[in-house]
């Protein structure tokens, strides 16, 4: 099988697997990075969101063959000490319930703050509504995103 080279959380990786294999399963089952979650496998829940060259993508929709020479960041690599402004704001606002969706949510929110350092509620609706939180923690996420934005703008 062909070998694919990608950068993952800042480190080069070589993956030898089916070119069609979704990145989600590469991360979870081959590389043991289980922070990225499976929720739908169809690109409609956002649980598997990672950054591809800084852009949030659904890793369940990305075949391994499309990952060559790209750089990916997963929740495990978002910050060195769990102190990304979104992570901190998530704790401050006590967002998580079961927590299963939250890695995907935080990855989306972190990307949102890059493109919209001061997001409006409308921006948050636009960018976050691909995601499912079956526990319904949306309003706390909204508050956490605003809080993280304030922290980023202060810094």
């Amino acid at each position: 099988m062909p070998v694919f080279k990608l950068i993952l959380n800042g480190k080069p990786h070589q993956v030898d697997a089916d070119p069609q294999m979704a990145l989600l399963w590469v991360l979870r089952d081959l590389l043991q990075l289980t922070g990225t979650k499976y929720g739908c496998g169809l690109g409609v829940c956002g649980a598997c969101t990672v950054h591809e060259d800084g852009i949030p993508v659904h890793s369940c929709q990305i075949p391994l063959s499309a990952t060559s020479a790209k750089s990916y960041v997963t929740i495990e690599g978002l910050s060195a000490h769990g102190d990304h402004p979104c992570q901190k704001a998530w704790l401050e606002e006590d967002v998580s319930q079961c927590g299963y969706c939250q890695a995907g949510m935080i990855m989306q929110a972190a990307a949102l703050l890059k493109t919209h350092p001061n997001p409006t509620d409308q921006d948050i609706d636009n960018e976050m509504s691909d995601h499912v939180c079956r526990c319904g923690t949306y309003q706390r996420m909204r508050r956490a995103i605003h809080r993280a934005a304030r922290e980023v703008s202060k810094a």
């Binding site: 739908c40 929740i75 998580s96 927590g99 976050m128 923690t137 309003q139």
Partner: protein, 732 residues
């Protein structure tokens, strides 16, 4: 007393007292050499000053890994920084202690036991210090993980006292703190495990990784109750990474599992599988036809559930009567983490890792299946990516156990989203027919309700025999929301007509309340409008303060229900008309419920509907709660928000249809849920109360659907009686 479905969810079947009993760990025979202080199953303290607390409920988002430690620490007086949380496992140390998580009961059922466990340990630590210092225990107190001798100020840490504490007598009735001295209970404590979640370190069932494990998915018969006849594994085995293909007979549906090096190959292998089925008797089951059947069943005489006064006569004499029919379709649970179980069956033992609300069932089913004593089976409870009642069933455990036994390796059996949505257990579909009568002065005099449903099976109830027993449903106290209609109608009749369907049903968040409460609270609104009265005032007349009554088998304080209605009305400015953008209609709706005699919830929803598109937006929900003492207000607010979004998903989107004997919906595309852009602002207000804590995890679900439907009526004049409520239905 006979078991009822309510009791199964609410209390412990083992102890029967409503409080978990705990096993006293026999003290180390060598006495002096004991280095671990374990006064009971919940707590152990070691000389390194680490306090281990065993969690006897599953964490599924309700925050129990925060609330249980709060209750333990309140009495134990250890500090958060020295605490490590351990998840209890069924059997062994926890034999006889209930670990099942259900019925909004995580806090209620454990409150007494946790406090007693903490107080026991504290008293023994104080006794140990007193012994060491040769002083009276009464001259010492415990605080932040140390015992302090008050006169001298001497201190010893719990770690330093562990060995001596282990030798002390276990007090029978350790003194509990008076509520005024609480330092933790009643304060806002954030989730203790938040950091693990936001860094991706939290481990759910699907994150279990065991050396040498394989991954599997399973093709289940697409028709309810159908059987596997034959399969051809050749093409599946040709998929790179696929290792085994094996038939499975032990879960909710028979089928064929494909085992591979990773989940991806298992999924691809399954696509290549050729399977033949005997569809069995349900091949043409159709939920639309079943619905029609339910609607015509309302003319039948059902099982009597309530009969107060003489409702038929009062209806005949009423000055004005009205009637309506409400529909609640089948619903899926769809927790974001799909069902899964990892099993490692060895010749004389077995270990499983499973996100479950029912670990005892997982244990006994596994042991039975393998013919092993329960002591040889270890059940690790992982974090649950949502439970909502689905994980009270352990059907996904034997599948994995059977598979691991067949292949002789540890294996993780993964349900894909489509598996999860099409198989398993569903919220029953339901039709409610209500007729009401008003007298000449527009006072409500009669209420006649018929509830038709595909019923709910759980824990083997009802049995086939129960189903024909005219008293079963009455004694069972079901359906919930029917037997305990809280309003004081002088004449009230309620009957239940359960219809058999092949759809496996089970508890969903708020169990049987959502359909009955949707109908009841909508119809009260209809009656209020027919009477020309304000829907709040109309309800309050039927709920007088001080009127504490047995309704059905439940003790209901009508005054407490009136109290939450008033609170919700006040906080939402009920009397002021709601206005907003001119291109939308605006309105408020109110609804309430009493959950299982002890949690009182009222909600006001603020809704607008686009004049063009008829799109529905729920802007704000005010939720007023009286559930006795609140252990963690932060947790309670989270649960209110969560329950409201859950109920709103069913109000606006959710339904599962069955065609040709199988579920139609497969993913969040056709079974959508409320997302960020649709989620309202939720405000929660609690009534401060001396009542003991009552459950809350699901109790805020039932009122939201009728509150929204009533608000839509207030805004548009259109009454929608069939869930989900959509723009298309509003336009029609």
């Amino acid at each position: 007393m006979k078991a009822t479905r309510r009791k199964f969810l609410k209390t412990t079947a083992l102890a029967g007292t409503g409080l978990a009993i705990w096993l006293e760990i026999p003290k180390n025979a060598a006495g002096e050499t004991a280095t671990v202080f374990e006064p009971n199953a919940y707590i152990s303290i070691t000389p390194d000053n680490v306090v281990r607390l065993w969690m006897t409920r599953s964490e599924m988002g309700q925050g129990i890994r925060t609330t249980l430690p709060m209750m333990l620490l309140e009495e134990l007086e250890a500090s958060w920084s020295q605490v490590r949380l351990e998840q209890a496992m069924p059997g062994g140390r926890f034999k006889g202690i209930r670990l099942r998580t259900s019925g909004s009961g995580s806090t209620v059922e454990t409150y007494g036991a946790m406090r007693k466990a903490g107080a026991t340990a504290r008293e023994m630590l104080i006794a140990a210090a007193a012994e060491k210092w040769k002083v009276a225990p009464a001259s010492c107190h415990a605080r932040e993980g140390t015992v302090i001798h008050d006169p001298s100020g001497r201190k010893l840490t719990y770690g330093e006292l562990a060995t001596v504490a282990a030798r002390q007598n276990v007090p029978d009735k350790p003194p509990l703190k008076p509520a005024k001295d609480f330092r933790l209970i009643g304060t806002r404590v954030k989730r203790r495990d938040g950091a693990a979640i936001v860094t991706g370190a939290a481990r759910y069932g699907l994150d279990v990784r065991v050396p040498g494990m394989l991954y599997a998915v399973m093709e289940r018969c697409p028709v309810l109750g159908g059987k596997l006849t034959r399969f051809d594994a050749e093409k599946a085995l040709a998929v790179p990474g696929v290792r085994h293909v094996a038939p499975i007979h032990s879960g909710i549906a028979t089928g064929v599992a494909v085992v591979a090096d990773h989940t991806w190959a298992a999924i691809k292998g399954r696509e290549a599988l050729h399977v033949e089925w005997d569809p069995g008797p349900n091949a043409d089951f159709d939920s639309d036809r079943f619905l029609a059947q339910m609607e015509s069943a309302v003319t039948q005489t059902g099982f009597p559930i309530r009969n107060d006064g003489d409702a038929p006569k009062a209806m005949a004499a009423a000055a004005k009567t009205l009637e309506a029919t409400y529909e609640f379709p089948f619903q899926a649970h769809a927790p974001l983490e799909t069902m899964n179980c990892t099993a490692d069956v060895r010749p004389d033992s077995c270990e499983i890792w499973v996100p479950t609300q029912a670990p005892e069932v997982a244990l006994s089913d596994t042991a039975k299946m393998l013919g092993l004593p329960e002591d040889s089976v270890k059940v690790h409870i992982t974090l649950l990516g949502g439970g909502f009642g689905r994980r009270l069933f352990a059907d996904y455990v034997p599948e994995a156990v059977e598979l691991s036994r067949a292949i002789g390796k540890p294996v993780q059996l993964v349900w894909t989203r489509s598996d999860d949505m099409r198989h398993g257990f569903f919220h029953p579909s339901d039709i409610e027919h209500i007729a009401g009568g008003l007298d000449a002065g527009n006072n409500p005099v009669a209420w006649v309700q018929k509830s038709v449903g595909s019923d709910l099976s759980m824990f083997g109830l009802p049995s086939e025999q129960d189903k024909t027993d005219p008293k079963f449903y009455f004694n069972d106290g079901s359906p919930w929301g029917l037997f305990d209609i809280p309003y004081n109608f002088p004449h009230l009749k309620a009957d239940y007509i359960p219809l058999n369907s092949p759809v496996p049903t089970g508890p969903w968040r708020a169990v049987m309340y959502p359909p009955t409460v949707f109908a009841r609270e909508s119809f009260l609104d209809e009656m209020a409008h027919a009477a020309g009265q304000d829907p709040l005032e109309f309800r309050l007349k039927l709920l007088q303060p001080g009127d504490v009554h047995m309704v059905g088998g439940a003790m209901i304080d009508r005054g407490r229900l009136a109290g939450v209605l008033r609170l919700a009305a006040e906080k939402s400015n009920w009397k002021q008309p709601l206005t907003g953008a001119k291109d939308r209609w605006w309105g408020r709706g109110i609804a309430c419920n009493v959950y299982d005699s002890d949690t009182y919830v009222a909600q006001v929803a603020e809704v607008s509907v686009g004049r063009e598109a008829h799109d529905i937006r729920v802007h704000r929900v005010v939720c007023a709660v009286d559930c006795g003492l609140v252990v963690n207000p932060a947790g309670l607010e989270g649960q209110a928000e969560s329950a409201i979004i859950w109920g709103l998903s069913a109000t606006l989107h959710g339904r599962i249809d069955f065609k040709n004997g199988g579920a139609v919906q497969e993913n969040f595309t056709d079974f959508d849920v409320v997302r960020m852009h649709e989620s309202p602002q939720v405000e929660t207000y609690t009534v401060s109360s001396d009542h003991p804590p009552a459950g809350f995890g699901e109790t805020a679900v039932p009122p939201i659907a009728p509150a929204v439907a009533n608000a839509i009526f207030a805004a548009t004049g259109k009454r929608l009686r069939r869930l989900p409520i959509t723009a298309e239905k509003l336009k029609a």
